[in-house]
Symmetry: C2
Subunit: 143 residues, 2 copies
DNA sequence: CACTAATTGCGAAAGATTCGCACTTGCCGC
DNA sequence: GCGGCAAGTGCGAATCTTTCGCAATTAGTG
């Protein structure tokens, strides 16, 4: 559960909705706002989807959660942790593989050297096919 | 402009709308369906947005255009060329830097070796900040 | 030129996210 | 503890983007 103080410490009011949204993001890993709402409804059935959206934005502003774009679907939220990671998103089965950011360091460095580009690999996923799906071409969903 | 035969050669009917959509994608580079429609309207004001969407899909199915996701905004289409490229998308100013795919080969190889993941860097952009925007923090648009 | 299937235009529908606004509630000071 | 007020919530409507159904049009074929 969300520690009572971490929200207050960020200057946020402590509401049941806000606590539950944060807890849901932590529990679900890479959840859409819709999925977060679904989870929160288990404990607080009356919560409104707007409230979920607003709290996700608020929690992101204070750094407790982050969003990323995994591809066709909508935005997904995950809890901020000390270990930043990139997402490898299989476009056939939707599996997400997390890659520690230092496994990508030489690549991002080369983009900096070659193009002056400061890469944020956490924000957008890297698309592709996982091993399993790659070996079953008939399952290829159109990206 | 679009060569009359290339559409027929793909088994597609040659309609003014279809030709103009293809020409617009080629002229615009990384355009949204909306932008494509806007461009086509200069020559063919009556074109319907649905027709643009349908033609983009059709042209993609025969390989003449491709879409990619640059981030928050919607899908963008560009003409298929022999040189596949990844997109570096500056989240502040929207600039897109194209990176030849072989500049990314050692990275994608490392994802294959480490995770069995077959990467398609053309489909989703790589987010970050261009040199200019990186040096003017006040311009940071929220991603 | 006539026929048929593909394509188009149009309006409505669907899905995702945002907004306006009146009502409620957490929090601060007294 | 209590009151006041700004922050937060619920609700419904508005937006924005993309898709669909269907009747009318049109490209391609012979
Ligand atoms: Mn896609
Ligand atoms: Mn984003
Ligand atoms: Zn997969
Ligand atoms: Zn920039």
């Amino acid at each position: 559960m969300a520690d009572k103080h971490e929200l207050r410490d960020k200057g946020l009011r402590l509401t049941p909705q806000r606590e539950l949204v944060l807890a849901a993001v932590r529990a679900l890993e890479h959840a859409t706002p819709e999925e977060v709402a679904e989870k929160v409804k288990q404990t607080h059935p009356g919560i409104n989807l707007s409230t979920v959206y607003r709290n996700l934005e608020t929690l992101e502003n204070v750094g407790l959660v982050q969003h990323s774009h995994l591809g066709h679907g909508g935005v997904r939220y995950h809890a901020s942790t000390e270990e930043i990671h990139a997402h490898l998103n299989c476009e056939s089965c939707g599996t997400i593989i997390e890659v520690p950011i230092d496994a990508t360091a030489s690549f991002t460095q080369s983009l900096l050297d070659g193009y002056g580009f400061h890469t944020d690999l956490a924000h957008l996923a890297i698309a592709g096919r996982c091993e399993t799906c790659f070996n079953m071409p008939e399952t290829f969903n159109k990206p």
